[in-house]
Structures are given as structure tokens and as C-alpha cells.
Symmetry: C2
Amino acid sequence: MNKKDIVRIILGGKTISAKPSASAFASSNIALCKYWGKRDEELNLPVTASLSVSLGHLGTRTKISISNMADRITLDDCELADEDPFARRLISFLDLFRSPREKYNIETKNNFPTAAGLASSASGFAALVIALDDLYAWHLTKKELSLLARLGSGSASRSIFNGFVEWQRGSRDDGMDSFAQVLAEQWPELRLGVVTVADEQKAVGSRAGMRRTTETSELYRSWPLQVEKDLRNIKEAIQNRDFELLGKTAESNALAMHATMLAAWPPLLYWKPETVLVFQKVWKMREAGVPVYFTIDAGPNVKILFLENQLNVVSKNFGSMEIVTPFS
Amino acid sequence: MNKKDIVRIILGGKTISAKPSASAFASSNIALCKYWGKRDEELNLPVTASLSVSLGHLGTRTKISISNMADRITLDDCELADEDPFARRLISFLDLFRSPREKYNIETKNNFPTAAGLASSASGFAALVIALDDLYAWHLTKKELSLLARLGSGSASRSIFNGFVEWQRGSRDDGMDSFAQVLAEQWPELRLGVVTVADEQKAVGSRAGMRRTTETSELYRSWPLQVEKDLRNIKEAIQNRDFELLGKTAESNALAMHATMLAAWPPLLYWKPETVLVFQKVWKMREAGVPVYFTIDAGPNVKILFLENQLNVVSKNFGSMEIVTPFS
């Protein structure tokens, strides 16, 4: 099975008429229980389920219009060269949906600072899929949109929804049971603070990092068990509004993910020295009784987890933090 | 089974006459395949085997003499107070061997800077056991000395020997098959460089850190498999003088140990920001073709592994390093 087969299954004979243009927005998301490791690299099928919270108004707006010229991709008002890696990734994704003659003009904008280290591929591919659905009037279900977005980027499957979102692992080889679903619960008091430690491109991308970890890290064998336990705890925490359980599970899950990378060869360490300082600051605050936790993706930047009523003390400790209100 | 039972088994009726005093030296050691986790806390029985290299002239000299006054313990020319944790640990160990009336005067000296972050309990308990053997003329075998030293501190079982030393896990409940043995091979060109990042007392001692890891870290479940593979590779590397295999296995093993801690709760991170800098420096050197690796114990300091012919380039990169020649 390749991506094209899956697209054919989902769309059937639907791609007939196209509007001149369409536009869509999708929120970025941050995983509280991480996605790390693919069981199928072509279809972006994960080794485990994962659970995220969307980032409200922070995300990607994408406008797509049919063109009879060459493809043209603009990211944050800059036109990308054909050989730009992001442009190539987008184009090979778009090739799944169009006839060879059809060309697109794509304008995509992230309304979060790229420096914040938030994943732009998640909201980027989700916004693109929603825009395509509108452009071609496919009228797909959210489940189908999630399946398509997953083919672009695994975590994009979650960015189809807002709020707490679980991406199911699924067990089928064709991945038709591996899509995201939204949880009923909301948690308006929840806050995320993005502490930016470095804004350079990471040396090893997520795809390569996952592959290295699954192929060489002995400790990765225990990762599925960790996720199983953490998913259960995070869902329980959300249901009971138990912030301590949510925070400690998310923090432990993120550190365990980094632990599996550390045990890979060559070792994979996305941290900067300053990353360790931020961890230690959080731990010190917690020792002083402040209910504050963190999560961290495959990069050096740290996302502080806290509740609205701790905003003052958290802001005081992390000055240059970007504050996110997921349920605004 | 408690420690006293084991001492009774090993010594039988041997403790009869004592010389007035005795003295012994034991080398410190650094594990290339780490000891992390106890299967029996009372008897210091390890979850896995481990393998170390001794540090030549760096170690502990201990003099013990019989006294009819109170116990008196001098560490590096400073008399320790009765309530000093190290003094209490030593005294409760000595209580295993003596009648209640017998008192000791103990002078113990480490000839490595305490700041270097080398484990002093390994060489300390090994030197003490060898001195006791001389004091009471027990004439124990090295295996028996290793068993006794293990009761004081797990890694002390390895400091009874010089060179490459393997401490066997054993499977018996009484631990009589869990002792160290020396490997036949030597490797005179091997060098260790101790890069001292911080010299403060660590916040969580090894004993507590091991307990926290074995009790709460999901990833620790894979640790025994990691050790099994690493032990095999390190022995093969020593036999074939394959420095690359030795280095990468030791480095990966150390990072995997730290990874198991990172996945514990509360998270256990012995590093300082500067520790990460040292890692990155080593990785950069390796990318530039210099065969250099590191290992790191449960603390912030890093031990660089290299061969004699790289001394210049390694010294240039790590100025304030203490260089150790294990086979001098």
C-alpha cells in the first residue's frame, strides 16, 4: 500500500469539480503523550497512540487556488524555491490529489513565531487538507480529513480537531483505523508557556530521529508500555481535572521519549545547556510548592504546563515566554 | 539473610588474633558497563553484571589499628564527627567484624581530588576490607575479599582487583555467587580524562537514585537487555583491541543508564548545563574524525575515553582535565 492507494480509497471518484480557490485554518498542537516512532514510514503509521492539546488561535492559515502556471508556494509571505525541502514535501503531498496538468498557488502563514519551536507541519498539513476539501467540495468527515492529514505529517492527524485530541494507533496495515478523535472534555484554565531556548533548525529531523531510535535504542522496547500507562493517566487526569496527574504524566512522558533517544546510537540529544536550566527551574518551583510541569518535543525548547491561577508566578520565573490558552 | 550471616559464612571461625595495625591500598574504578539497580538492598546484590577499569594509582589508602578508646575515623587528615554519614556507614560496616569491646582507629586517604567526582566508596571499602584481612590474618581469597567489599558498597567488589574487572550478577539469594573477577587482558594505551563540571555533593545519592529508578522507571525494564548486549560488546572490544567498539558501547551504556533515570519519577537528572556542553564537544570531535568517547556516572562530571596517541588533541579540547592511565 502506498499513499496514493489510500487517497483513492478515501476519495473514491470524488475529485470532479474545483472552485477557483479555498482557504482554511488549523491549530497547532502539542502532545501531552508523545508520538515517537513509526510502524510504517510510507503511511506515517505510529508505533503507539498519542494525545495532544491544540493551541487555540496559534496555527496555520492556508489559501490554495488553482493555477495554470507552475506551482507557487509562499510561506509567511516569502516565496519558496522549488528545491526548498518544505516546498518539495508539500508538492509531493499535493501530487496525491491532482491530475498532472493541475497546478496550485499556495499561500501559507503561521501566526506563531517560527522561533517558538512549535511544530508547523502539524497545523500546516491539517490546514492544507481542510482547504483541499473545500476546494474540491469533497465534504469529507473529520475522520477522513484526519486520515489524509496523517499522510502529510503524522501529528497533522491531530490538528484537524480542537481541544484534547487522541490519535489512535490502529492495527491495520492500510492505516484506515489510525486517525485522531476529539475528547469531550475541555479545560479552560489550562495554560502553556513556550520557553524558547534556540531557534535554529535542528540537526536531526523528527523522521530521521524516530528511525534512529526505533532501530538502535534498546530502551525504546519499553516505550509502548510507557505510553499505554501514560495515556490512561492523562485521560483520567482530564476527566477528573487532576492537574497534578496531568502535569506529572506529561512531563514524565516527554522525558521518557528523550530517554529513548539518548539510548540510541549515535546518541540523540535535542537539548541545549539552557534546556537543562529550564528543567531545573521548573523542578525548583515545584519543590517550593508551585504546581508547574513541562513537556518538550524533539527540540531544545520547553513548554511549561500550568493553570491560569499560577500565571503570575510562572511569568515572573520565565520572562520571555509565549503564553498559549488552548481553550480560548 | 543479612550482612552478618554472610560475614559468618565467609569468615567461619577465623577472627581470632589481631595485629596492632594494618594498611592497604585499593584503586578506584570506573564502570564501562554500569551497575544501576539492586536486586537486594541489604546485600548490595545487583540487577545486572557490570564491568569496570581500575584507575591505577588513583585510589584509597587505609590504615586500621586496634584501639581501646572510642572509634576514630580520619578522612584525608580530617577527623570525622560521629554523626558524619560516611563515618556512620564505615562504623556499621566494621560492626560486622568485631566484638563490641573492640574499637578502631582508621586513617583513610584518597589520592585523587574529591572534586574529580570519582567514587571514593569503591576504593574506600575495598582498601578497608584488604586492611582488615591483614589485621586479622584471615588470608581470604580475592573472591572472598570481593564478596565482603560488596557488603560495604556494590562497586567496591570490583576495586579488589586491578585492570578490567567484571562483577557477576549471580543468582543466589545469599549473593555468594555475586563477586568480581579480573579479565586477563590489559590495554596499556587506554586513557581516561576526568572533566570536572561540579564538585558539590549530589542531591540524590546513588542508593536512593537506584531505588527510585527501579521502582518508577518504565524504561528500566529494558536495562538488563541493554547490559547483556553491552557486556558482550565490551568484552569483545577488549579482546580485539577494538577501541571504537569499546568507546561507543561504554558511551551508549552510560547514556542509557541516565535515560532510565530520566524516565523515573520524580525525574532524576544528575547533569549540569555544562555536562551537555562536554557531550557536544566530544560529539563534535568525533564528527571531525577524532576517536574519542565518554562515560558518565551518577553525577555531573564526564570521563573522556581515548587512546594515548590522541592525548594532544584531547588535552587541547579539555584543558582542566585530570588524566588517568589505568594500566600504568
